[in-house]
């Protein structure tokens, strides 16, 4: 399976990420796949190491999913870390992707959650079609999995 993101896919994704950032006043959002690869990033986070953040987020989410499984839950679909200045909100977008929202005290957790709920279905549909394409292609006899 290989994941191919076309220009058109990226435009659609960026449209919703932009909408999310401007409506929630979060300073940035990342869309990452559950293996830790960064898919898209929108907003202003020049000082952060985005690639390490993606790898750690995926691991964090994976570890939490295992905790959920041990507790008899299917999954925890959202996670929230509160810091003194920075806060991080993680939400599952379908089966394969995690939306990471970084925000400070200029906005509120309630607004962030509200705005995420508004874009998550659309993002989920776009991403599902990207991942489904990858799955179809991997059955091509010319390409090993």
């Amino acid at each position: 399976m290989n994941i191919v993101i076309t220009d058109q896919d990226m435009k659609k994704i960026n449209y919703y990420l932009n909408k999310m950032v401007s409506s929630s006043m979060a300073h940035s959002v990342l869309l990452i796949d559950r293996s830790g690869q960064l898919i898209a990033h929108h907003g202003n986070t020049p000082e952060f190491d985005i690639l390490s953040l993606s790898a750690l987020t995926a691991a964090n989410f994976g570890a939490t999913a295992e905790i959920a499984r041990i507790l008899g839950e299917e999954e925890f679909t959202l996670l929230f870390h509160k810091g003194r200045n920075e806060n991080v909100y993680f939400s599952a977008v379908g089966e394969h992707v995690i939306l990471v929202t970084l925000f400070d005290d200029s906005t509120s957790l309630g607004l962030i959650r509200l705005q995420i709920n508004k874009v998550i279905d659309e993002l989920s549909t776009i991403l599902l079609s990207i991942f489904e394409k990858g799955r179809v292609k991997s059955t091509d006899p010319l390409r090993p999995s």
Binding site: M1, V4, D7, I39, A59, E66
Partner: protein
């Protein structure tokens, strides 16, 4: 599972260093980190316990230049080697494109190397990947101990134990001193990029 981003002309691949506890996976990454130029590497992230054991993983991102106009970025990960961290190893293997199996040359670790390789095959199989088809390179680490008081296995014994069926490229090395580290990285990168490159060519044909 490489990420091919046509919007940014970028390809991201994931390479995992696998092997038994204390075989030198983290040391490989540390050496790579210490010897690469600032502009091609990211920060190295390690989640370890106080006793030098990797608790979750180490992570290092490297830029390998361009193929067919695409920027190639590889993410290097290590797994915790200890038997009881199998759930973590499975998590790190998610979306893997290539594996470096680091074998410990110490004679006392002979059984642990074999067990770890079997564990790799099992964990890959659970993800629908055959150990025979994924890009794989073996590194026989700690060869610098040859001639010291520590008893180490001869290379042909290690080859027979670990590579007689797989027949993948193998390198002797010392992650601590640096020998064989970049040879191993170069080979696994070559195999992964070759595979990705083939996929791009197929995609190009499909898209035209």
């Amino acid at each position: 599972m490489p990420f091919i981003n046509f919007s940014k002309d970028e390809i991201q691949c994931k390479i995992v260093y696998y092997g038994a506890g204390f075989c030198g996976k983290t040391t490989n990454l540390q050496y790579i980190y210490s010897q690469t130029m600032e502009d091609i590497k990211g920060k190295m992230v390690s989640i370890d316990t106080k006793g030098d054991r990797t608790l979750f993983f180490d992570f290092l991102s490297l830029s390998l230049g361009k193929i067919r106009g695409f920027d190639i970025r590889v993410q290097l990960y290590t797994v915790p080697g200890q038997v009881h961290y199998d759930a973590t190893r499975k998590l790190v293997l998610k979306g893997v494109d290539g594996v470096v199996f680091v074998a410990d040359s110490l004679k006392v670790q002979r059984k642990k190397n074999i067990e770890s390789l079997i564990n790799l095959a099992k964990n890959l199989a659970e993800k629908g990947i055959s150990i025979r088809s994924i890009p794989l390179v073996i590194q026989y680490n700690k060869r610098d101990l040859d001639g010291t008081d520590s008893e180490i296995l001869a290379l042909d014994i290690l080859e027979k134990d670990l590579n007689s069926m797989l027949k993948v490229p193998s390198f002797s090395g010392s992650a601590l001193k640096g020998s064989g580290v970049f040879e191993t990285l170069r080979e696994i990168s070559k195999l992964v990029v070759k595979e990705v490159s083939r996929k791009i060519m197929l995609l190009d044909k499909q898209l035209r």
